[in-house]
């Protein structure tokens, strides 16, 4: 069992700068948890506290039921893959893989077998007698992965492992890592993964659950689908999804959302979802959920980006910039229109309270169920 529990984790630097503000999180055994957030949101710091590379100012880290706050990294049954691989430059690949096992006092034949197993899984057999400087980025990353794998840890920690690779390699490594996770799980090996990234594509494609962080706080922990469809607050709404969700300032008035001189009737579906009716609100709707409708909100078309099978329409709605994604065929029907009508799909509309950023339109019944 390798459940990872964070209880009120805090990190304070130099006695005054608070980087992590009391994080509480349970990561289940075998779960692939992704920490995502902009740079400086303390996701790496949190990971390093779990690893034991950073002192924990307050709270508890519990791995597999055991409080590990005072254990050195080597005794926490973890393995870590670093952003810049951190291979030992003077050791060959074989030596890099063997180092942890040697320190643990494993016998030579045992180490040899382990190396061969890992090398086969990661297809690095031809590289075993090379030095790290003779490896390409992708190869080095596989060796770094192997160094983690060979220890058979309870928890794998990844600290932005793919950010030094080019786009194509990143895509293939992504699949390789998720495959590996699935395989370990299928074999019944403990394989809890905590994966830090700032890339939302990685987060969305790899994670069982995603923990979105900002400025040392957890903003939302949910499955990728849940995050995308039901963001808990403005930050998550703006962070997840590409192109970004349109966040339109306005206020609620008698069942209508008022944007400048225009009024959008919210309809019963949306109104039934509202937990409260904030005076100053933000209407959130994804570009994919805006459809062309002459009776919709009037916006002035400023730019159109042709992406192949779809077109990104950039428009100005009462002085606020919005984006809509429509099919190429629809765009061609639009002709050379200057003003366009856009209607948000009711079931995909979110209303946020501007004062605290929370989503007040989450379906309570659905959440309860």
């Amino acid at each position: 069992m390798a459940r990872v529990q964070l209880r009120n984790i805090e990190k304070v630097y130099g006695g005054s700068v608070k980087a992590v503000h009391g994080i509480n999180l349970d990561i289940e055994d075998g779960e692939f948890m992704v920490f995502v957030g902009p740079s400086g949101c303390a996701k790496s710091t949190t990971l390093r506290m779990i690893a034991g590379l950073e002192d924990i100012t307050g709270g508890e880290v519990i791995i597999g039921g055991q409080r590990v706050n005072d254990l050195p990294p080597g005794k926490r049954s973890i393995a870590m893959v670093f952003q810049n691989y951190a291979l030992y430059p003077h050791m060959k690949v074989r030596g890099n893989l063997a180092f942890g096992l040697k320190i643990a006092g494993k016998s030579k034949p045992e180490i040899e077998t382990a190396i061969n197993d890992v090398a086969r899984i990661l297809e690095i057999e031809p590289l075993l007698d090379r030095l790290p400087k003779q490896l390409s980025g992708g190869q080095a990353q596989r060796v770094a992965l192997g160094r983690a794998l060979i220890k058979k840890p309870s928890v794998f920690l990844f600290d932005e492992p793919l950010s030094n690779l080019d786009a194509k390699l990143r895509a293939s490594m992504r699949v390789r890592i998720t495959d590996l996770h699935r395989r370990l799980k299928a074999e019944g090996l403990s394989s809890t993964v905590i994966y830090v990234t700032h890339d939302q594509t990685e987060a969305m494609t790899m994670g069982d659950r995603i923990c979105v962080m900002q400025a040392g706080h957890i903003m939302q922990v949910a499955t990728p689908k849940e995050l995308y469809n039901h963001p808990a607050n403005l930050f998550v709404a703006g962070f997840i999804g590409s192109p970004e969700m349109n966040l339109i300032d306005g206020h609620l008035q008698g069942g209508q959302f008022v944007i400048g001189n225009q009024r959008l009737t919210l309809g019963d579906e949306v109104l039934s979802r509202l937990a409260s009716q904030p005076a100053d609100g933000v209407l959130g709707v994804r570009p994919q959920h805006l459809v062309l409708d002459p009776n919709g909100l009037k916006a002035r078309l400023t730019n159109a980006e042709f992406m192949g099978h779809e077109v990104y329409l950039h428009a100005d709605l009462e002085g606020q910039k919005i984006i809509a994604v429509i099919g190429t065929a629809e765009y061609e029907q639009l002709g050379r229109a200057d003003m366009i009508g856009l209607r948000p799909l009711a079931e995909h509309m979110h209303i946020f309270d501007k004062s605290d950023g929370s989503n007040v339109s989450l379906d309570r019944h659905r959440l309860a169920a």
Binding site: P73, G74, A86, Y88, P89, F99, I103, P132, R147
Partner: protein, 299 residues
């Protein structure tokens, strides 16, 4: 007309290229001649020393040329015997007995001190490090007398201990400082990876940091070797029995004891004295330049 113009243009270009090549040639010649002349000026005393060690005493002062007219090994043979009951070999052995523990001790102690300063947080770290740097700025002369009194009270006079024990306990602030600077330039990721791999601080130091530190460590050893080999004042103060003299003192000995200086013997022994330092320097100089830390952090 056009063709003619183009031909003119080609000819002009060719002329320009030839001119540039000529200028390059002249500039290179001047540069090399200058370097050669200055190089010879610098090296001439050394060359003369080697040449003169094969000359007879009377010839040494008869001209500035370095090629001996009647080459003789007399200087080496008589110089090696010395005017004491011991041969020069004994003095070399003494030097070796000082240098070996001093260099090894310096490498080990300075690495540990530098590792602590560069990578760990401990109480009073800033004050301690400032103190280390402050001793760098302190002239050696200032500490001579207190040190002498200390070693006298310890009963270490006329032994090799005062010559190497302070250095073997990270007493040379310069080396500590040098290694701290080098360590600060190394990324700490590899050390963190080692800690995750289960290594304790000492294992991390030995298996991960020391190999990455190798170029700097070789420099430290080289400097310590050369400085100790050349150190005259230290042995002069602490050693009183001739049988414990290192080569630097032994050279002076041959000047003291003979009334008419046998210059060729002194020169011959000088050549032998600088030989180990020269050999080791040339053998190890490529490690000065070579850095091995780049491999692990490739992007």
């Amino acid at each position: 007309m056009d063709t003619n113009a183009m031909l003119d243009m080609d000819a002009f270009n060719d002329a320009q290229a030839a001119k540039r090549a000529r200028m390059r040639m002249i500039s290179a010649t001047i540069r090399y001649v200058l370097l050669f002349v200055v190089g010879i000026l610098m090296l001439y005393p050394l060359i003369w020393l080697v040449g003169a060690s094969f000359k007879t005493n009377s010839e040494i002062f008869s001209g500035a040329g370095f090629i001996p007219r009647e080459p003789t090994l007399d200087g080496y043979i008589k110089g090696w015997e010395t005017s004491t009951p011991y041969t020069f070999g004994r003095f070399f052995w003494n030097s070796f007995l000082i240098i070996l523990p001093k260099t090894i001790g310096t490498a080990i102690s300075c690495t540990m001190a530098a590792y602590a300063f560069a990578r760990f947080d401990f109480p009073l770290k800033k004050i301690l490090f400032t103190t280390v740097i402050a001793t760098l700025l302190l002239p050696n002369v200032v500490t001579r007398i207190p040190q002498y009194l200390l070693f006298r009270d310890l009963g270490w006079l006329d032994s090799f201990l005062p010559l190497w024990v302070p250095s073997a306990l990270a007493g040379d602030a310069f080396f500590v400082f040098m290694l701290v600077q080098f360590l600060r330039s190394l990324p700490s990721d590899m050390e963190e990876a080692a800690r995750v791999d289960g290594a304790n601080s000492l294992q991390t130091l030995i298996y991960i940091v020391v190999p990455m530190l190798a170029p700097a460590l070789i420099s430290v050893c080289l400097f310590q070797f050369m400085w100790t080999m050349n150190d005259f004042l230290g042995p002069l103060i602490y050693l009183s029995s001739v049988d414990k003299y290192p080569v630097s003192l032994a050279l002076k000995l041959s000047i003291d004891t003979t009334e008419a200086f046998e210059w060729n013997r002194i020169l011959a022994m000088s050549v032998l004295t600088i030989a180990p330092a020269l050999i080791i320097f040339f053998a190890a100089q490529r490690y000065f330049i070579e850095g091995i830390s780049s491999g692990g952090v490739k992007g």
